[in-house]
């Protein structure tokens, strides 16, 4: 990384950390001033999604694995921690330890199985397992997951410093820390020798095998790393939301992850982070936008589509895929927008 790049990053990092002390209002962007709990909460959520999108970029953008079940690991992070805290009344460190173990073993086990097949079959198997998990969660086995209603953490479960509106800044910093750590690990991983093999696998798996490397092992490593980091993001998400909701186990949610990464630009890491942040921000704001008075006055044929955030995002996604495969990241990069559109278009 160039010195200027590192310098710019340090500056951004500093700005992010100091944000909760800044009493400035950005009208139009945020409802309250930057140091208000509402804004900090939104930003924290954006960071979490940025981190999550990055983890998906590792497995999809860099290794070329179209997994439709990535949300599963995020959900595992959320639910395992929630269950340990709320149902079994473990302490936070204990719950985190358990989650860490699960976050390693689950992608390892599932990845070992799913990676036996390729391409579309792989996508379908990952989808199948994620669906199975989703069904399982909704069944509320042993009363653990809370089924459709989700699982609230309740009071007295978390350390006081992480609870309450007044402590939103703490959660904000945790989210920022998560994003920073995920970026650092992600960046280190994709630039490491195994990371280069991932990219080679994305381009042409057969050639990697011919070179004497075992693609399966590398793919599994990518799968496990991204799954583990996704679970970490899940833990942060749990802390922010104060509970678990089965919506995050659905296939639609993984698809939303896909949208985030493509939105930001596949295979660039920072593109995914931008995609995640922008997506969550839009999702939040579009919900408010949909209730805005300006919309209410439009004829139904315009009002209805525009009031549905997912509609706008779906259309945006289609437009992106058709005309701007490089995503927003591609727009920002001034490099010639040649080939690196979407990974390994294997036929």
């Amino acid at each position: 990384m160039s010195r200027r790049g590192a310098g710019a990053l340090a500056l951004i990092g500093l700005a992010v950390i100091l944000l909760p002390f800044v009493h400035v209002t950005l009208p139009g962007f945020f409802e309250g001033p930057l140091d208000s709990p509402g804004t900090l909460n939104l930003l924290a959520l954006c960071f979490v999604f940025g981190a999550l999108a990055l983890t998906y970029d590792i497995v999809f953008g860099f290794t070329g694995l179209l997994s439709f079940g990535h949300a599963l690991y995020f959900a595992a992070g959320v639910y395992v921690t929630a269950i340990a805290l709320a149902r079994w009344h473990w302490s936070l460190p204990q719950a985190l330890a358990l989650t860490a173990v699960v976050a390693l073993l689950l992608p390892l086990a599932l990845g070992a199985v799913c990676l036996r097949v390729h391409d579309i079959s792989f996508a379908m198997v990952t989808l199948a397992f994620a669906e199975a998990a989703s069904i399982l969660v909704l069944q509320n086995p042993f009363g653990l997951t809370g089924g459709e209603e989700g699982l609230a953490l309740g009071s007295g479960v978390l350390p006081a410093a992480l609870v309450g509106v007044a402590n939103t800044a703490h959660l904000y910093w945790i989210a920022a820390g998560l994003l920073l750590a995920t970026c650092a690990i992600g960046w280190w991983a994709v630039n490491s020798p195994p990371g280069r093999v991932w990219q080679a696998i994305r381009e042409n798996e057969r050639r990697v095998a011919v070179l004497g490397l075992n693609p399966y092992a590398y793919k599994l490593a990518s799968f496990v790393l991204s799954g583990f980091l996704a679970a970490a993001a899940g833990v942060a998400y749990l802390l922010l939301q104060g509970g678990a909701n089965p919506q995050i186990t659905t296939a639609s949610f993984t698809l939303v992850l896909l949208v985030m990464v493509v939105l930001g630009g596949v295979g660039t890491l920072w593109g995914a982070v931008i995609g995640g942040i922008v997506y969550e921000y839009l999702d939040f704001r579009l919900l408010e936008f949909s209730n805005a008075s300006v919309l209410q006055n439009l004829p139904p044929i315009l009002r209805v589509p525009l009031s549905e955030p997912l509609f706008i995002l779906g259309v945006l996604f289609i437009v992106l895929v058709l005309f701007l495969p490089e995503g927003l990241g591609g727009l920002l990069r001034r490099a010639p927008a040649t080939v690196r559109a979407l990974p390994a278009e294997k036929r």
Binding site: V113, M124, A132, G314, L316, L322
Partner: protein, 294 residues
């Protein structure tokens, strides 16, 4: 005994719906290698189109309403599918991942639009009296809608088999599922087959949308997604591009789901079926029945 009969008929009825959706998916996937995640959207849109077409005739005979709804839904599904193929899939011919992604966007946008327009709650569908009545077979009271769904699905199955085995385009499609490049090398424009296959798939999904509303008595925006997942399972088990395989697999999946859901616990059947998908993909990517390649 009557429970078993009811379970069998219910399983077959669901299987019939799965088959209708899976048939199109199987052909599209088999011939074009496109994973059409928007197929559930065809189902949903057609269901609502049929519903509203029927409702617009309010006052006429319920049978006429239902029938008009059936036609409207089937056509809506077909038109939506053809538009999807021409506007979204065809431009992305060289980008298979892009093709999958664009169907994702379409699915998300369509579902949002439908929910925004009609609300996310299920709506009651008005059906002719005979359909809501039951017929007793071996002690089981079976809603007549089941028979309607089964009958139409069987007709579609026969129609598709006839089309594939006896018409030139059917021949082209069968050959194309095996080896698309060679079909081109015989001077045949597979592009037309692509559009045709999407049209067929769309119409079948559209028919399923209206029949689904008939079967469940309600119309529901979220049903398309859940049906789609089951349909994928059916396609994988039955083998890509194999209509007969899809039919057999649909029966298996429908029955398995119903029996397990009843005798084990609610949801176990769905869970088992999803795991069956994973198992088949891992052990026999070519499907249990059809000859298609993964």
């Amino acid at each position: 005994m009557s429970t078993i009969v009811l379970l069998i008929v219910t399983g077959l009825g669901l299987g019939a719906l799965y088959f209708l959706i899976a048939a199109g998916l199987s052909l599209i996937w088999g011939l074009m290698r496109v994973l059409n995640l928007a197929h559930g959207a065809f189902f949903t849109v057609a269901g609502y189109a049929g519903f509203f077409a029927a409702a617009s005739l309010g006052g006429s005979s319920p049978w006429l309403q239902w029938f008009v709804g059936l036609i409207a839904g089937t056509l809506a599904g077909g038109i939506f599918a053809v538009l999807t193929e021409t506007l979204l899939i065809r431009p992305l011919y060289r980008r298979p991942v892009g093709q999958v992604l664009v169907t994702v966007g379409l699915a998300l946008a369509t579902l949002a639009l439908v929910e925004g327009t009609f609300g996310s709650d299920p709506r009651q569908v008005s059906l002719p009296d005979w359909m809501t009545a039951t017929t007793t077979i071996l002690g089981a009271a079976i809603p007549n809608t089941r028979f309607v769904v089964l009958l139409l699905a069987v007709l579609v199955l026969l129609g598709l088999l006839f089309f594939l085995r006896r018409t030139r385009y059917g021949l082209i499609i069968r050959a194309g599922v095996e080896n698309r490049a060679m079909v081109s090398a015989l001077g045949i424009d597979v592009g037309r087959a692509f559009t045709l296959v999407f049209a067929i798939g769309g119409m079948a999904a559209g028919l399923a949308g209206v029949l689904g509303a008939t079967y469940f008595g309600t119309i529901d925006p979220s049903r398309g997604t859940t049906m789609l997942i089951s349909a994928f399972i059916v396609v994988v088990i039955g083998g890509l591009g194999s209509i007969g395989g899809s039919a057999l697999a649909a029966v298996i999946v429908g029955l398995l789901q119903q029996f397990l859901n009843f005798y084990a616990a609610a949801g176990v059947g769905d869970f088992a079926v999803v795991l069956l998908l994973a198992a088949v993909l891992l052990l026999r990517p070519g499907g249990l029945i059809g000859r298609g390649s993964a």
